[in-house]
């Protein structure tokens, strides 16, 4: 599987994601700087990592979403290349219009950084095929702006189309309908706030996130 990890100024989970991808897929991803205007044409997966791209200035993910490389990511996504946005990566995907809604300040104001219980709501996609539907897993979150917000019609549509892939199984950040991760209509763009790359090896204390990458490898 050929993958790439996009690196913005302020990304800080890019290395974690790269190590995880290399470990699971056996191939190191290409690291792509935000000023690049083209991506390799044979990619299977593009990872948008966590962190604080552009210092979270204006809004989390807002400046990154308008960076040169994201225009190439939008084009690749339209071709069907899989895109995985984690934490700040999820914020970037919503700001870029690849996923609906917005991620707002946590309802409790605090930065939340701890393992949380999640439910895998949908396993009929390339990112979660190795999980059982309804399975509960523990994966860490680390974010200030993870409070998913969208209008009621959008939320109903996401639920109705089975596009809520991960849901919090405990109170975390005030997210609408406890949404932790959603997928696009075509099924090739997933954004989630929890960090599966931080739970991909027992040496990290947990490996509940590893199957996201194993699912992608098998897809």
């Amino acid at each position: 599987m050929k993958s790439a990890v996009i690196v913005f100024p302020g990304s800080n989970c890019d290395r974690d994601l790269a190590v995880c991808l290399r470990d699971v897929t056996g191939t190191a991803p290409q690291m792509i700087w935000h000023r690049e205007t083209e991506l390799p044409h044979d990619l299977d997966l593009i990872g948008i990592p966590g962190g604080f791209s552009y210092g979270d200035y204006l809004r989390s993910g807002a400046c990154a979403a308008r960076s040169p490389v994201m225009q190439a990511v939008v084009k690749a996504a339209a071709r069907g290349v899989k895109v995985l946005g984690i934490c700040n990566g999820f914020q970037v995907l919503t700001e870029a219009g690849l996923l609906p809604g917005a991620l707002m300040r946590n309802a409790g104001i605090n930065f939340v950084c701890r393992p949380v219980k999640l439910r895998v709501e949908n396993n009929q996609n390339a990112f979660t095929a190795r999980y059982a539907a309804g399975e509960e897993v523990r994966i860490s979150v680390a974010h200030h702006d993870g409070n998913y917000s969208a209008d009621e019609a959008t939320l109903d549509r996401l639920e109705g189309e089975g596009r809520v892939v991960f849901r919090y199984a405990e109170a975390v950040n005030g997210s609408a309908r406890d949404i932790a991760g959603i997928i696009n209509n075509a099924g090739n763009v997933l954004g989630l706030m929890p960090h599966p790359e931080r739970a991909a090896h027992l040496g990290q204390g947990a490996d509940d996130g590893r199957r996201v990458f194993e699912s992608l490898l098998g897809a």
């Binding site: 204006l58 809004r59 807002a62 308008r66 919503t94 700001e95 609906p100 809604g101 917005a102 707002m104 300040r105 946590n106 309802a107 409790g108 104001i109 409070n147 917000s149 969208a150 005030g174």
Partner: protein, 76 residues
Amino acid sequence: MKRRIFITLKTGVLDPQGKAVHHSLEGLGFAGVNDVRIGKLIELDVAEDVSEAQLGEMCEKLLANTVIENYRIEVA
């Protein structure tokens, strides 16, 4: 020329920061505050030939996230 862009949260969008500030105002003993909503003020200094339509486009494409925010452009 100078323009001021006010970004505010849409009605119905929860504002945790506003709520926290409201709580602090009450903690200081200020009574009678019904609600607090926090927004942003962006000051732009632009060339004379920048049109209002272009300013609107700047807001739509970057300065505001119209999923959750409204914007208003004023002459500074």
